[in-house]
């Protein structure tokens, strides 16, 4: 009577083949408890303000992805909350992630008002991450404050040489894109210390308080599209303003900024630049160096210096179309796998095994080779 039955009791949540490959995850968030983090703030005045009068993270009112999630801000903990190294290892086991590059992604920090308090949080987060992750043999990305390049350099010099610190983590947004010359000292310190710059989306500056943005009311509009738009603006700004001619060894990874826009940016940048390159010589870096043109075609910087994380990867259904899109998007050179654990947009490395769009070579580039190259693992 009946059919053969066996109970499935697997901890694994991804195809078994994923366990055979090396999987490096470029965006794994840990979430220290506030009181644990604040215990690391060294400046007495800053700690006092952060723990009493202001609370730890004062932020102005704004739209938030939480409005689209049944459970509100709990969406940031959809999978749980990693506080220590053993939590990270437990989470990674389910998804065949071998090397998570963890960050203390306090992604609302850029939005807060007070630079001294924000720097206090950066210092505390870096020390917390060293103690609880880098010292426990987990690769870690250190926080770098975008709002204070001078302090950013100080912090890089203080933390970058520690074992298992493999990247710097900061944020992109629509205000002051990273092509601005004020960031040159930061780039110089990163290149000297062999660290790639990971830039993550920060809680939205735009579209709030702008003519278009105030009317954007849904998660799809805002989270789905503002970060990719910010990313495009930052990428094109860095390339056209000569960042990579001055720092050819700098690698920049945009996290959660989307990726299918690459074909558009790639061809359009080249077309516009080749039609009218005359204003490149009056950008500050070129002007100072007496240069006329970029040293390479704009799309070559995209291929060589810019990397993108994959999550969430929304593939076209047909594998032929998906393969074409991956090719046009220079995925083999630019894409790096990310899970975004534990957030609501989690992306386990399932696609790479279930879609026929990936051959072995492409899968390996995305899952580990591109990351190995820029992290120098």
């Amino acid at each position: 009577m009946g059919s053969p039955v066996s109970q499935i009791d697997a901890d694994a949540e991804v195809p078994e083949r994923a366990y055979e490959d090396r999987v490096i995850d470029l965006d794994f968030h840990v979430n220290p408890l506030e009181e644990d983090l604040l215990a690391y703030v060294e400046d007495d005045v800053v700690r006092d303000k952060l723990t009493t009068e202001f609370g730890p993270t004062p932020i102005p009112g704004k739209w938030d992805a939480a409005y689209a999630i049944k459970e509100g801000n709990e969406g940031l903990f959809t999978q749980g909350r990693a506080e220590y190294a053993e939590d990270v290892r437990e989470a990674c086991e389910k998804f065949a992630i071998d090397e998570p590059i963890v960050n203390a992604g306090v992604n609302n920090l850029p939005l807060q008002h007070h630079p001294i308090l924000k720097n206090g949080v950066v210092q505390a987060a870096n020390d917390y991450m060293l103690d609880h992750f880098a010292d426990e043999d987990i690769y870690t990305s250190m926080l770098v404050p975008k709002w204070d390049p001078e302090y950013a350099v100080e912090e890089i010099e203080r933390v970058a040489a520690e074992d298992n610190v493999v990247a710097a983590y900061s944020w992109f947004g629509p205000k002051t894109p990273w092509g601005s010359e004020q960031f040159d000292p930061v780039f110089e310190a990163l290149v000297e210390n062999d660290l790639p710059l990971l830039l993550h989306g920060s809680l939205a500056y735009w579209p709030q308080h702008s003519y278009i943005g105030d009317e954007m009311l849904t998660w799809t509009e805002v989270l789905g599209f503002d970060w990719p738009i910010h990313t495009m603006v930052n990428v094109v700004n860095m390339i056209m303003r000569g960042v990579f001619d001055r720092f050819p060894d700098l690698n920049v990874v945009f996290q959660e900024g989307g990726h299918w826009w690459v074909p558009f940016v790639r061809y359009r940048m080249d077309e516009f630049y080749e039609m009218h390159p005359d204003d490149v010589k009056i950008t500050p870096r070129k002007h100072e160096a007496g240069g006329e043109l970029l040293e390479r075609r704009p799309s070559e910087y995209l291929r060589d210096n810019i990397y993108l994380t994959t999550q969430p990867l929304a593939l076209p259904r047909g594998s032929g179309q998906a393969r074409d899109l991956l090719e046009l998007s220079m995925a083999d050179d630019m894409f790096t796998y990310s899970s975004d654990w534990p957030h609501q947009t989690l992306d386990p490395p399932t696609w790479f095994y279930t879609s026929r769009a990936f051959d072995d070579e492409l899968r390996e580039s995305i899952l580990h080779e591109n990351a190995e190259e820029i992290l120098r693992l």
Partner: protein, 125 residues
């Protein structure tokens, strides 16, 4: 030793009632088909174990989160007893546990007959 329960042909025993706590599920392979079996207030429901979104194992819905005490909802997805839905542990798609439907996408997964006889859970594929 108790007598074998009386049950129609085509049903396969997948578990004892006590093995599936209320609000949780188990996964079984019945003749090569992965099925999640959930206990919803003592009623048992069988549904494909693979989420129609990206293939998460649905039986993990309701699993305790890492450091659950420091989060609000404590579990990864879960069973909603009032709505008769299960929300997926990865991205919380809500699936009708009786029809297997996901309303927004229009996607649908298989559901199966399940019944309890003498404290044993049976499923028919």
């Amino acid at each position: 030793m108790s007598a074998k329960p009386e049950i129609d042909d085509g049903y396969s025993r997948v578990a004892s009632v006590g093995e599936v706590p209320r609000g949780r599920g188990i996964a079984v392979d019945v003749d090569g088909i992965e099925i999640a079996v959930f206990n919803v207030e003592g009623e048992f429901h069988a549904i494909s174990n693979r989420c129609p979104h990206q293939g998460a194992p649905l039986y993990k819905a309701g699993e305790k989160k890492i450091n659950a005490e420091d989060t609000w909802t404590e579990s990864r997805g879960g069973v909603n007893e009032d709505d008769l839905t299960v929300s997926c542990p990865w991205h919380l798609w809500e699936l009708d546990i009786e029809s297997g439907e996901h309303e927004v996408s229009g996607k649908c997964i298989g559901t199966f007959d399940a019944k309890v006889v003498d404290g044993e859970v049976f499923v028919r594929i």
